[in-house]
Amino acid sequence: MSAGMGLAALQQAYRDYLLEGRSDSLAEVIVADAFDAEERLRIYRNNFLIGLGEALKANFPVTMRLLGEDFFAQAARAFVLQAPPARPCLFEYGEGFAEFLETLSDLAALPYVAEMARFEFARIGAFHAPVETLLGEAEIARVPPEALADLPMRLAAHVHLLELRYPVEVLWQAHQAAEPDLAALDMAPRPHALLVCRPQRALVAQEIGPDSLAFLAAARQPTTLAQAAEACGSEMDPERLGRVIGLALQHGLLVSG
Protein backbone atom coordinates (compact mmCIF):
# COMPACT_ATOMS: atom_id res chain seq x y z
CA MET A 1 0.00 0.00 0.00
CA SER A 2 1.39 3.37 -1.04
CA ALA A 3 1.70 6.14 1.48
CA GLY A 4 -0.67 8.05 -0.78
CA MET A 5 -0.72 11.65 -1.76
CA GLY A 6 -2.34 14.59 -0.02
CA LEU A 7 -5.58 15.82 -1.60
CA ALA A 8 -4.17 19.18 -2.75
CA ALA A 9 -1.17 17.45 -4.36
CA LEU A 10 -3.48 14.88 -5.97
CA GLN A 11 -5.64 17.60 -7.48
CA GLN A 12 -2.58 19.47 -8.73
CA ALA A 13 -1.37 16.22 -10.31
CA TYR A 14 -4.73 15.95 -12.14
CA ARG A 15 -4.25 19.48 -13.41
CA ASP A 16 -0.83 18.52 -14.79
CA TYR A 17 -2.33 15.44 -16.37
CA LEU A 18 -5.52 16.93 -17.81
CA LEU A 19 -3.88 20.05 -19.22
CA GLU A 20 -0.41 18.76 -20.09
CA GLY A 21 -0.75 15.00 -20.29
CA ARG A 22 1.84 14.35 -17.56
CA SER A 23 0.55 11.33 -15.64
CA ASP A 24 3.61 9.96 -13.82
CA SER A 25 2.84 11.07 -10.27
CA LEU A 26 -0.89 10.45 -10.63
CA ALA A 27 -0.49 6.95 -12.05
CA GLU A 28 1.42 5.89 -8.94
CA VAL A 29 -1.58 6.31 -6.65
CA ILE A 30 -4.13 4.56 -8.88
CA VAL A 31 -5.03 0.91 -8.50
CA ALA A 32 -4.04 -1.05 -11.61
CA ASP A 33 -5.95 -4.27 -12.23
CA ALA A 34 -7.87 -5.22 -15.38
CA PHE A 35 -6.94 -1.76 -16.67
CA ASP A 36 -3.73 0.05 -15.98
CA ALA A 37 -3.67 3.52 -14.47
CA GLU A 38 -3.12 5.21 -17.85
CA GLU A 39 -6.16 3.52 -19.36
CA ARG A 40 -8.32 4.56 -16.43
CA LEU A 41 -7.04 8.13 -16.45
CA ARG A 42 -7.59 8.48 -20.18
CA ILE A 43 -11.34 8.01 -19.63
CA TYR A 44 -11.36 11.15 -17.49
CA ARG A 45 -9.20 13.11 -19.90
CA ASN A 46 -11.52 12.21 -22.78
CA ASN A 47 -14.55 13.28 -20.75
CA PHE A 48 -12.85 16.55 -19.91
CA LEU A 49 -11.84 17.35 -23.50
CA ILE A 50 -15.03 16.15 -25.17
CA GLY A 51 -17.34 17.77 -22.62
CA LEU A 52 -15.73 21.19 -22.90
CA GLY A 53 -15.47 20.84 -26.69
CA GLU A 54 -19.24 20.29 -26.71
CA ALA A 55 -19.71 23.36 -24.51
CA LEU A 56 -17.79 25.50 -27.02
CA LYS A 57 -19.80 24.01 -29.86
CA ALA A 58 -23.00 24.97 -28.07
CA ASN A 59 -21.74 28.53 -27.48
CA PHE A 60 -20.30 29.06 -30.98
CA PRO A 61 -22.64 27.19 -33.34
CA VAL A 62 -22.14 29.29 -36.48
CA THR A 63 -18.39 29.59 -35.88
CA MET A 64 -18.46 25.79 -35.80
CA ARG A 65 -20.33 25.63 -39.12
CA LEU A 66 -17.88 28.03 -40.73
CA LEU A 67 -14.89 25.99 -39.59
CA GLY A 68 -16.43 22.57 -40.13
CA GLU A 69 -16.96 20.07 -37.34
CA ASP A 70 -13.51 18.46 -37.46
CA PHE A 71 -11.48 21.64 -37.60
CA PHE A 72 -13.64 23.19 -34.89
CA ALA A 73 -13.15 20.14 -32.65
CA GLN A 74 -9.37 20.38 -33.06
CA ALA A 75 -9.37 24.11 -32.37
CA ALA A 76 -11.67 23.64 -29.38
CA ARG A 77 -9.43 20.96 -27.94
CA ALA A 78 -6.37 23.17 -28.22
CA PHE A 79 -8.27 26.08 -26.64
CA VAL A 80 -9.58 23.94 -23.78
CA LEU A 81 -6.04 22.84 -22.94
CA GLN A 82 -4.75 26.41 -23.10
CA ALA A 83 -7.68 28.11 -21.35
CA PRO A 84 -9.94 25.77 -19.37
CA PRO A 85 -12.98 27.48 -17.85
CA ALA A 86 -12.35 29.42 -14.66
CA ARG A 87 -15.93 28.96 -13.52
CA PRO A 88 -18.45 26.10 -13.65
CA CYS A 89 -21.11 27.98 -15.65
CA LEU A 90 -20.46 26.75 -19.16
CA PHE A 91 -22.74 29.29 -20.81
CA GLU A 92 -20.02 31.77 -19.85
CA TYR A 93 -17.21 29.70 -21.34
CA GLY A 94 -15.40 30.98 -24.40
CA GLU A 95 -13.86 34.29 -23.40
CA GLY A 96 -10.71 34.57 -25.48
CA PHE A 97 -11.83 31.94 -28.01
CA ALA A 98 -12.14 34.57 -30.76
CA GLU A 99 -8.63 35.85 -30.04
CA PHE A 100 -7.40 32.25 -30.00
CA LEU A 101 -8.89 31.67 -33.46
CA GLU A 102 -7.07 34.77 -34.73
CA THR A 103 -3.78 33.06 -33.90
CA LEU A 104 -4.52 30.06 -36.14
CA SER A 105 -2.51 30.46 -39.32
CA ASP A 106 -4.66 28.25 -41.57
CA LEU A 107 -7.74 30.49 -41.32
CA ALA A 108 -6.66 32.99 -43.99
CA ALA A 109 -9.53 31.90 -46.23
CA LEU A 110 -12.05 32.78 -43.50
CA PRO A 111 -10.82 36.16 -42.26
CA TYR A 112 -14.17 36.87 -40.56
CA VAL A 113 -14.33 33.71 -38.43
CA ALA A 114 -12.81 35.28 -35.30
CA GLU A 115 -15.31 38.14 -35.57
CA MET A 116 -18.11 35.59 -35.81
CA ALA A 117 -16.85 34.07 -32.55
CA ARG A 118 -16.82 37.56 -30.96
CA PHE A 119 -20.39 38.12 -32.13
CA GLU A 120 -21.57 34.74 -30.83
CA PHE A 121 -19.89 35.31 -27.47
CA ALA A 122 -21.56 38.72 -27.22
CA ARG A 123 -24.92 37.07 -27.99
CA ILE A 124 -24.63 34.56 -25.13
CA GLY A 125 -23.31 37.28 -22.83
CA ALA A 126 -26.36 39.43 -23.59
CA PHE A 127 -28.66 36.45 -23.30
CA HIS A 128 -27.46 35.41 -19.84
CA ALA A 129 -26.75 38.84 -18.35
CA PRO A 130 -28.16 39.47 -14.89
CA VAL A 131 -31.45 41.33 -14.70
CA GLU A 132 -31.06 45.03 -13.79
CA THR A 133 -33.36 48.01 -13.49
CA LEU A 134 -32.84 49.80 -16.79
CA LEU A 135 -33.12 53.52 -17.42
CA GLY A 136 -36.10 54.22 -19.65
CA GLU A 137 -37.96 57.33 -20.69
CA ALA A 138 -40.17 57.17 -17.60
CA GLU A 139 -37.14 57.14 -15.27
CA ILE A 140 -35.50 60.02 -17.14
CA ALA A 141 -38.75 62.02 -17.02
CA ARG A 142 -38.62 61.88 -13.21
CA VAL A 143 -35.17 63.52 -13.10
CA PRO A 144 -35.33 67.33 -12.69
CA PRO A 145 -34.02 68.91 -15.93
CA GLU A 146 -31.20 70.73 -14.12
CA ALA A 147 -29.92 67.39 -12.69
CA LEU A 148 -30.03 65.54 -15.98
CA ALA A 149 -26.49 66.36 -17.12
CA ASP A 150 -24.98 65.02 -13.90
CA LEU A 151 -27.13 61.87 -13.73
CA PRO A 152 -24.75 59.03 -12.77
CA MET A 153 -25.08 56.14 -15.20
CA ARG A 154 -23.30 53.22 -16.79
CA LEU A 155 -23.86 50.62 -19.49
CA ALA A 156 -26.23 47.80 -18.52
CA ALA A 157 -24.71 44.31 -18.23
CA HIS A 158 -26.69 42.98 -21.21
CA VAL A 159 -25.12 45.49 -23.62
CA HIS A 160 -22.18 44.55 -25.83
CA LEU A 161 -20.50 46.87 -28.32
CA LEU A 162 -18.54 45.30 -31.14
CA GLU A 163 -16.33 47.09 -33.62
CA LEU A 164 -16.26 44.79 -36.61
CA ARG A 165 -14.61 44.67 -40.00
CA TYR A 166 -16.92 42.13 -41.58
CA PRO A 167 -20.74 41.87 -41.72
CA VAL A 168 -20.82 38.77 -39.50
CA GLU A 169 -24.31 39.45 -38.14
CA VAL A 170 -25.72 39.10 -41.69
CA LEU A 171 -23.76 35.88 -42.11
CA TRP A 172 -25.03 34.63 -38.75
CA GLN A 173 -28.64 35.35 -39.77
CA ALA A 174 -28.12 33.49 -43.05
CA HIS A 175 -26.91 30.46 -41.09
CA GLN A 176 -30.17 30.28 -39.16
CA ALA A 177 -31.79 28.71 -42.23
CA ALA A 178 -31.67 24.92 -42.44
CA GLU A 179 -29.92 25.25 -45.80
CA PRO A 180 -28.21 28.64 -45.75
CA ASP A 181 -28.11 30.51 -49.04
CA LEU A 182 -24.68 32.07 -48.80
CA ALA A 183 -24.07 32.76 -52.49
CA ALA A 184 -25.67 36.22 -52.36
CA LEU A 185 -23.70 37.35 -49.29
CA ASP A 186 -21.01 39.94 -49.74
CA MET A 187 -18.38 39.28 -47.09
CA ALA A 188 -16.05 42.05 -48.23
CA PRO A 189 -14.71 44.16 -45.34
CA ARG A 190 -17.12 46.87 -44.20
CA PRO A 191 -16.06 48.37 -40.86
CA HIS A 192 -19.01 49.11 -38.59
CA ALA A 193 -20.12 49.07 -34.98
CA LEU A 194 -22.68 46.56 -33.78
CA LEU A 195 -24.82 46.82 -30.68
CA VAL A 196 -25.77 43.42 -29.20
CA CYS A 197 -28.22 43.54 -26.32
CA ARG A 198 -31.21 41.88 -24.73
CA PRO A 199 -33.36 44.58 -23.15
CA GLN A 200 -36.51 42.51 -22.85
CA ARG A 201 -37.00 38.89 -23.81
CA ALA A 202 -35.58 39.15 -27.31
CA LEU A 203 -32.04 39.64 -28.44
CA VAL A 204 -31.25 42.76 -30.49
CA ALA A 205 -28.29 43.05 -32.88
CA GLN A 206 -28.25 46.47 -34.52
CA GLU A 207 -25.68 48.51 -36.38
CA ILE A 208 -24.95 51.85 -34.71
CA GLY A 209 -23.19 55.00 -35.86
CA PRO A 210 -20.04 56.62 -34.47
CA ASP A 211 -21.97 59.01 -32.17
CA SER A 212 -23.77 56.16 -30.43
CA LEU A 213 -20.63 54.05 -30.23
CA ALA A 214 -18.65 56.88 -28.60
CA PHE A 215 -21.46 57.69 -26.15
CA LEU A 216 -22.07 54.05 -25.15
CA ALA A 217 -18.38 53.15 -25.00
CA ALA A 218 -17.87 56.05 -22.57
CA ALA A 219 -20.55 54.49 -20.36
CA ARG A 220 -18.61 51.21 -19.99
CA GLN A 221 -17.25 52.96 -16.89
CA PRO A 222 -19.58 54.78 -14.48
CA THR A 223 -20.07 58.24 -15.94
CA THR A 224 -22.64 61.02 -16.32
CA LEU A 225 -24.81 61.98 -19.21
CA ALA A 226 -22.74 65.13 -19.80
CA GLN A 227 -19.42 63.25 -19.77
CA ALA A 228 -20.69 60.57 -22.14
CA ALA A 229 -22.01 63.29 -24.45
CA GLU A 230 -18.60 64.95 -24.40
CA ALA A 231 -17.06 61.69 -25.59
CA CYS A 232 -19.04 62.12 -28.80
CA GLY A 233 -16.98 65.20 -29.67
CA SER A 234 -17.26 68.91 -29.10
CA GLU A 235 -19.26 69.67 -32.23
CA MET A 236 -22.12 67.37 -31.15
CA ASP A 237 -25.38 69.21 -31.73
CA PRO A 238 -28.45 68.65 -29.49
CA GLU A 239 -30.37 66.91 -32.25
CA ARG A 240 -27.69 64.26 -32.76
CA LEU A 241 -27.27 63.84 -29.01
CA GLY A 242 -31.04 63.42 -28.71
CA ARG A 243 -30.94 60.56 -31.21
CA VAL A 244 -28.17 58.82 -29.29
CA ILE A 245 -29.97 59.15 -25.95
CA GLY A 246 -33.20 58.05 -27.62
CA LEU A 247 -31.52 54.83 -28.78
CA ALA A 248 -30.13 54.21 -25.27
CA LEU A 249 -33.53 54.68 -23.65
CA GLN A 250 -35.42 52.71 -26.29
CA HIS A 251 -33.26 49.59 -25.80
CA GLY A 252 -32.64 50.07 -22.08
CA LEU A 253 -28.88 50.27 -22.57
CA LEU A 254 -28.16 52.24 -19.38
CA VAL A 255 -28.60 51.78 -15.67
CA SER A 256 -28.23 54.49 -13.08
CA GLY A 257 -25.18 54.57 -10.81
Binding site: M1, S2, A3, G4, M5, G6, L7, A8, L10, Q11, Q12, Y14, R15, L18, L19, E28, V29, I30, V31, A34, F35, A37, E39, R40, L41, I43, Y44, N47, F48, G51, L52, A55, P84, P85, A86, R87, P88, C89, L90, F91, E92, F127, H128, A129, P130, V131, A157, R198, R201
Partner: protein, 294 residues
Protein backbone atom coordinates in the same frame (compact mmCIF):
# COMPACT_ATOMS: atom_id res chain seq x y z
CA UNK B 1 -48.28 10.61 -4.98
CA UNK B 2 -47.39 9.71 -1.40
CA UNK B 3 -46.94 12.32 1.28
CA UNK B 4 -43.33 13.01 2.03
CA UNK B 5 -43.22 12.93 5.82
CA UNK B 6 -40.98 9.88 5.69
CA UNK B 7 -38.26 11.69 3.77
CA UNK B 8 -35.21 13.12 5.51
CA UNK B 9 -35.13 16.91 5.96
CA UNK B 10 -32.85 17.39 2.93
CA UNK B 11 -35.69 16.47 0.54
CA UNK B 12 -39.13 17.98 0.11
CA UNK B 13 -39.67 16.29 -3.22
CA UNK B 14 -42.85 14.32 -3.85
CA UNK B 15 -42.42 10.55 -3.61
CA UNK B 16 -43.01 10.14 -7.32
CA UNK B 17 -41.00 10.02 -10.53
CA UNK B 18 -39.53 13.15 -12.10
CA UNK B 19 -37.33 13.98 -15.05
CA UNK B 20 -34.24 16.05 -15.61
CA UNK B 21 -35.24 19.13 -17.61
CA UNK B 22 -32.65 20.02 -20.24
CA UNK B 23 -32.44 22.79 -22.85
CA UNK B 24 -33.93 20.82 -25.79
CA UNK B 25 -37.21 20.52 -23.84
CA UNK B 26 -37.41 24.05 -22.43
CA UNK B 27 -39.79 25.30 -25.13
CA UNK B 28 -42.10 22.33 -24.66
CA UNK B 29 -42.25 22.90 -20.91
CA UNK B 30 -42.88 26.60 -21.45
CA UNK B 31 -45.76 25.91 -23.84
CA UNK B 32 -47.37 22.66 -22.68
CA UNK B 33 -46.58 22.00 -19.02
CA UNK B 34 -46.15 18.23 -19.60
CA UNK B 35 -47.52 15.98 -16.91
CA UNK B 36 -44.72 14.93 -14.56
CA UNK B 37 -44.54 15.11 -10.77
CA UNK B 38 -41.31 17.06 -10.46
CA UNK B 39 -38.29 18.28 -12.38
CA UNK B 40 -34.61 18.57 -11.71
CA UNK B 41 -32.27 21.02 -13.43
CA UNK B 42 -28.53 21.55 -13.38
CA UNK B 43 -28.03 24.54 -11.10
CA UNK B 44 -25.13 25.93 -13.15
CA UNK B 45 -27.33 26.42 -16.22
CA UNK B 46 -29.57 28.86 -14.35
CA UNK B 47 -27.03 31.15 -12.72
CA UNK B 48 -27.31 33.77 -15.46
CA UNK B 49 -30.25 36.12 -15.73
CA UNK B 50 -31.57 35.05 -19.11
CA UNK B 51 -34.53 33.22 -20.53
CA UNK B 52 -33.55 29.99 -18.77
CA UNK B 53 -34.07 31.64 -15.39
CA UNK B 54 -37.36 33.21 -16.52
CA UNK B 55 -38.57 29.74 -17.50
CA UNK B 56 -37.52 28.15 -14.22
CA UNK B 57 -39.34 30.84 -12.25
CA UNK B 58 -42.46 30.32 -14.34
CA UNK B 59 -42.32 26.54 -13.73
CA UNK B 60 -42.20 26.93 -9.94
CA UNK B 61 -45.96 27.07 -9.65
CA UNK B 62 -46.52 23.85 -11.57
CA UNK B 63 -43.69 21.55 -10.50
CA UNK B 64 -41.61 20.73 -7.46
CA UNK B 65 -38.07 21.67 -8.48
CA UNK B 66 -34.74 20.12 -7.55
CA UNK B 67 -31.54 22.13 -8.10
CA UNK B 68 -28.79 19.65 -8.86
CA UNK B 69 -25.29 21.13 -8.98
CA UNK B 70 -22.48 19.79 -11.11
CA UNK B 71 -19.85 22.44 -10.43
CA UNK B 72 -19.46 23.34 -6.77
CA UNK B 73 -16.62 20.83 -6.44
CA UNK B 74 -17.34 19.73 -2.87
CA UNK B 75 -14.19 17.60 -2.87
CA UNK B 76 -11.79 20.47 -3.65
CA UNK B 77 -8.87 20.83 -1.26
CA UNK B 78 -8.85 24.54 -2.26
CA UNK B 79 -12.25 25.01 -0.59
CA UNK B 80 -15.35 26.30 -2.33
CA UNK B 81 -15.45 29.15 -4.84
CA UNK B 82 -17.30 31.68 -2.72
CA UNK B 83 -18.52 33.73 -5.70
CA UNK B 84 -20.04 30.60 -7.20
CA UNK B 85 -21.57 29.64 -3.87
CA UNK B 86 -23.11 33.13 -3.59
CA UNK B 87 -24.71 32.74 -7.02
CA UNK B 88 -26.16 29.35 -6.03
CA UNK B 89 -27.47 30.79 -2.77
CA UNK B 90 -29.16 33.64 -4.67
CA UNK B 91 -30.82 31.14 -7.04
CA UNK B 92 -31.98 29.00 -4.11
CA UNK B 93 -33.54 32.07 -2.48
CA UNK B 94 -35.30 32.90 -5.71
CA UNK B 95 -36.57 29.43 -6.64
CA UNK B 96 -37.08 27.97 -3.12
CA UNK B 97 -36.50 24.45 -4.52
CA UNK B 98 -37.74 21.22 -2.94
CA UNK B 99 -34.19 19.85 -2.90
CA UNK B 100 -30.60 21.01 -3.48
CA UNK B 101 -27.76 18.64 -4.26
CA UNK B 102 -24.25 18.23 -5.68
CA UNK B 103 -21.73 15.40 -5.93
CA UNK B 104 -19.16 13.45 -3.94
CA UNK B 105 -16.39 14.45 -6.34
CA UNK B 106 -14.26 17.41 -7.32
CA UNK B 107 -13.85 19.45 -10.50
CA UNK B 108 -11.97 22.64 -9.62
CA UNK B 109 -8.35 23.24 -8.67
CA UNK B 110 -6.21 26.38 -8.82
CA UNK B 111 -8.93 28.28 -10.63
CA UNK B 112 -9.50 25.75 -13.42
CA UNK B 113 -12.85 23.97 -13.83
CA UNK B 114 -12.54 20.54 -15.46
CA UNK B 115 -16.25 19.94 -16.13
CA UNK B 116 -16.13 16.36 -14.92
CA UNK B 117 -16.96 14.59 -11.67
CA UNK B 118 -13.43 13.56 -10.71
CA UNK B 119 -13.09 10.94 -7.98
CA UNK B 120 -11.80 11.66 -4.49
CA UNK B 121 -9.90 9.16 -2.35
CA UNK B 122 -11.97 7.63 0.41
CA UNK B 123 -9.72 8.54 3.31
CA UNK B 124 -9.73 10.76 6.38
CA UNK B 125 -8.31 13.85 4.68
CA UNK B 126 -10.85 13.83 1.84
CA UNK B 127 -13.63 13.20 4.36
CA UNK B 128 -12.58 16.26 6.37
CA UNK B 129 -12.39 18.39 3.22
CA UNK B 130 -15.78 17.19 1.94
CA UNK B 131 -17.38 17.66 5.36
CA UNK B 132 -16.08 21.22 5.71
CA UNK B 133 -17.23 22.10 2.18
CA UNK B 134 -20.66 20.50 2.65
CA UNK B 135 -21.06 22.40 5.90
CA UNK B 136 -20.15 25.68 4.20
CA UNK B 137 -22.63 24.87 1.41
CA UNK B 138 -25.41 24.15 3.90
CA UNK B 139 -24.65 27.25 5.96
CA UNK B 140 -24.75 29.45 2.85
CA UNK B 141 -28.18 28.06 1.95
CA UNK B 142 -29.54 27.66 5.47
CA UNK B 143 -30.76 24.17 4.67
CA UNK B 144 -29.61 20.56 4.39
CA UNK B 145 -28.38 19.42 0.99
CA UNK B 146 -27.89 16.00 -0.60
CA UNK B 147 -24.68 14.62 -2.06
CA UNK B 148 -24.64 12.09 -4.87
CA UNK B 149 -22.47 8.98 -5.15
CA UNK B 150 -20.42 9.13 -8.39
CA UNK B 151 -19.72 6.66 -11.16
CA UNK B 152 -16.01 5.96 -11.00
CA UNK B 153 -13.50 4.50 -13.41
CA UNK B 154 -10.55 4.34 -11.05
CA UNK B 155 -9.70 3.76 -7.39
CA UNK B 156 -6.85 5.16 -5.32
CA UNK B 157 -4.32 3.00 -3.53
CA UNK B 158 -4.63 5.20 -0.46
CA UNK B 159 -8.42 4.91 -0.10
CA UNK B 160 -8.86 3.14 3.23
CA UNK B 161 -12.64 2.69 3.40
CA UNK B 162 -15.46 1.64 1.09
CA UNK B 163 -17.65 4.29 -0.55
CA UNK B 164 -20.77 3.51 1.57
CA UNK B 165 -18.76 3.97 4.76
CA UNK B 166 -17.35 7.25 3.48
CA UNK B 167 -20.89 8.42 2.64
CA UNK B 168 -22.19 7.36 6.05
CA UNK B 169 -19.45 9.33 7.81
CA UNK B 170 -20.09 12.37 5.62
CA UNK B 171 -23.84 12.28 6.37
CA UNK B 172 -23.18 11.82 10.08
CA UNK B 173 -20.64 14.67 10.28
CA UNK B 174 -22.64 17.24 8.31
CA UNK B 175 -26.29 16.24 8.56
CA UNK B 176 -26.48 16.16 4.77
CA UNK B 177 -28.56 13.59 2.92
CA UNK B 178 -27.67 11.13 0.20
CA UNK B 179 -28.84 11.33 -3.38
CA UNK B 180 -28.44 7.69 -4.32
CA UNK B 181 -27.74 7.21 -8.03
CA UNK B 182 -28.65 3.59 -8.72
CA UNK B 183 -27.01 3.63 -12.14
CA UNK B 184 -23.78 4.94 -10.59
CA UNK B 185 -23.84 2.15 -8.00
CA UNK B 186 -24.20 -0.37 -10.82
CA UNK B 187 -21.51 1.21 -13.04
CA UNK B 188 -18.97 1.45 -10.21
CA UNK B 189 -19.81 -2.04 -8.94
CA UNK B 190 -19.20 -3.53 -12.38
CA UNK B 191 -16.05 -1.46 -12.97
CA UNK B 192 -14.52 -2.31 -9.60
CA UNK B 193 -16.10 -5.74 -9.06
CA UNK B 194 -17.92 -5.04 -5.83
CA UNK B 195 -21.39 -6.27 -4.86
CA UNK B 196 -24.02 -3.67 -5.82
CA UNK B 197 -26.66 -5.17 -3.54
CA UNK B 198 -24.23 -5.17 -0.62
CA UNK B 199 -23.66 -1.47 -1.38
CA UNK B 200 -27.41 -0.78 -1.24
CA UNK B 201 -27.68 -2.65 2.05
CA UNK B 202 -24.82 -0.58 3.44
CA UNK B 203 -26.52 2.74 2.59
CA UNK B 204 -30.08 1.63 3.45
CA UNK B 205 -29.99 3.27 6.87
CA UNK B 206 -28.63 6.61 5.57
CA UNK B 207 -30.87 9.65 5.03
CA UNK B 208 -31.55 9.03 1.34
CA UNK B 209 -33.80 11.76 -0.07
CA UNK B 210 -33.75 11.00 -3.79
CA UNK B 211 -32.82 8.30 -6.29
CA UNK B 212 -31.36 8.77 -9.78
CA UNK B 213 -31.77 6.47 -12.76
CA UNK B 214 -30.08 6.86 -16.14
CA UNK B 215 -28.39 5.01 -18.96
CA UNK B 216 -24.75 4.10 -19.38
CA UNK B 217 -22.75 2.32 -22.06
CA UNK B 218 -20.10 -0.32 -22.35
CA UNK B 219 -16.79 0.87 -23.82
CA UNK B 220 -14.25 -1.59 -25.15
CA UNK B 221 -10.58 -1.03 -24.39
CA UNK B 222 -8.54 -3.73 -26.06
CA UNK B 223 -10.29 -7.00 -25.29
CA UNK B 224 -11.78 -5.69 -22.04
CA UNK B 225 -14.72 -3.42 -21.40
CA UNK B 226 -15.64 -0.77 -18.88
CA UNK B 227 -18.99 0.87 -18.13
CA UNK B 228 -19.22 4.60 -18.80
CA UNK B 229 -21.92 6.73 -17.21
CA UNK B 230 -23.06 9.00 -20.06
CA UNK B 231 -26.80 9.48 -19.43
CA UNK B 232 -27.27 8.86 -23.12
CA UNK B 233 -29.60 5.85 -23.37
CA UNK B 234 -32.57 4.21 -21.65
CA UNK B 235 -32.06 2.80 -18.15
CA UNK B 236 -30.58 -0.69 -18.60
CA UNK B 237 -32.44 -3.82 -17.47
CA UNK B 238 -29.71 -4.48 -14.91
CA UNK B 239 -30.23 -1.04 -13.40
CA UNK B 240 -34.02 -1.45 -13.33
CA UNK B 241 -33.48 -4.69 -11.38
CA UNK B 242 -31.15 -2.92 -8.97
CA UNK B 243 -33.76 -0.15 -8.62
CA UNK B 244 -36.31 -2.82 -7.60
CA UNK B 245 -33.87 -3.98 -4.93
CA UNK B 246 -33.28 -0.40 -3.81
CA UNK B 247 -37.01 0.20 -3.41
CA UNK B 248 -37.27 -3.06 -1.45
CA UNK B 249 -34.52 -1.97 0.92
CA UNK B 250 -35.18 1.76 1.15
CA UNK B 251 -38.90 2.04 0.51
CA UNK B 252 -40.37 4.39 -2.10
CA UNK B 253 -38.34 7.55 -2.74
CA UNK B 254 -38.49 10.46 -5.21
CA UNK B 255 -36.90 9.09 -8.36
CA UNK B 256 -35.41 10.99 -11.28
CA UNK B 257 -34.81 9.94 -14.88
CA UNK B 258 -31.67 11.72 -16.12
CA UNK B 259 -30.72 12.06 -19.78
CA UNK B 260 -27.85 14.36 -20.79
CA UNK B 261 -26.39 13.21 -24.09
CA UNK B 262 -28.25 12.18 -27.25
CA UNK B 263 -31.33 13.60 -25.51
CA UNK B 264 -34.47 12.01 -27.01
CA UNK B 265 -38.00 13.32 -27.49
CA UNK B 266 -39.69 14.29 -24.27
CA UNK B 267 -42.19 11.42 -24.68
CA UNK B 268 -39.37 8.92 -24.22
CA UNK B 269 -38.24 10.56 -20.98
CA UNK B 270 -41.81 10.70 -19.74
CA UNK B 271 -42.29 7.00 -20.56
CA UNK B 272 -39.15 6.13 -18.57
CA UNK B 273 -40.39 8.19 -15.65
CA UNK B 274 -43.80 6.50 -15.87
CA UNK B 275 -42.02 3.15 -15.65
CA UNK B 276 -40.23 4.29 -12.50
CA UNK B 277 -43.52 5.69 -11.19
CA UNK B 278 -45.24 2.33 -11.64
CA UNK B 279 -42.50 0.61 -9.66
CA UNK B 280 -42.70 3.28 -6.98
CA UNK B 281 -46.45 2.76 -6.61
CA UNK B 282 -45.88 -0.96 -6.01
CA UNK B 283 -42.91 -0.52 -3.67
CA UNK B 284 -43.42 -1.76 -0.13
CA UNK B 285 -43.39 0.92 2.54
CA UNK B 286 -40.08 1.56 4.21
CA UNK B 287 -39.19 -1.27 6.59
CA UNK B 288 -40.27 -0.74 10.17
CA UNK B 289 -36.73 -1.50 11.33
CA UNK B 290 -35.29 1.44 9.43
CA UNK B 291 -34.25 4.46 11.37
CA UNK B 292 -36.88 7.18 11.49
CA UNK B 293 -35.64 10.49 10.17
CA UNK B 294 -36.32 13.82 11.71
Amino acid sequence: MLEDSRLPSCSHLPIAAGIGLRAPHHAQFAAERPHVAWIEVHTENFLGGGAALDLLESLRGDYAISLHGVGLSLGSADGLDSAHLDRIAALVRRIAPAAVSDHVSWSVTSGAYFNDLLPIPYDEEALSVMAANVQQFQEALGRAVMVENPSTYLRYRHSDRAEPQFLAELCARTGCGLLLDVNNVFVSAMNHEFDAIGYLEAVAELPVGELHLSGHHLRSIGNRSIRIDDHGSPVSEDVWSLYDRALGLLGPLPTLIEWDSRIPDLDILLAESAKAGAKLALAPPRRATAKAFA
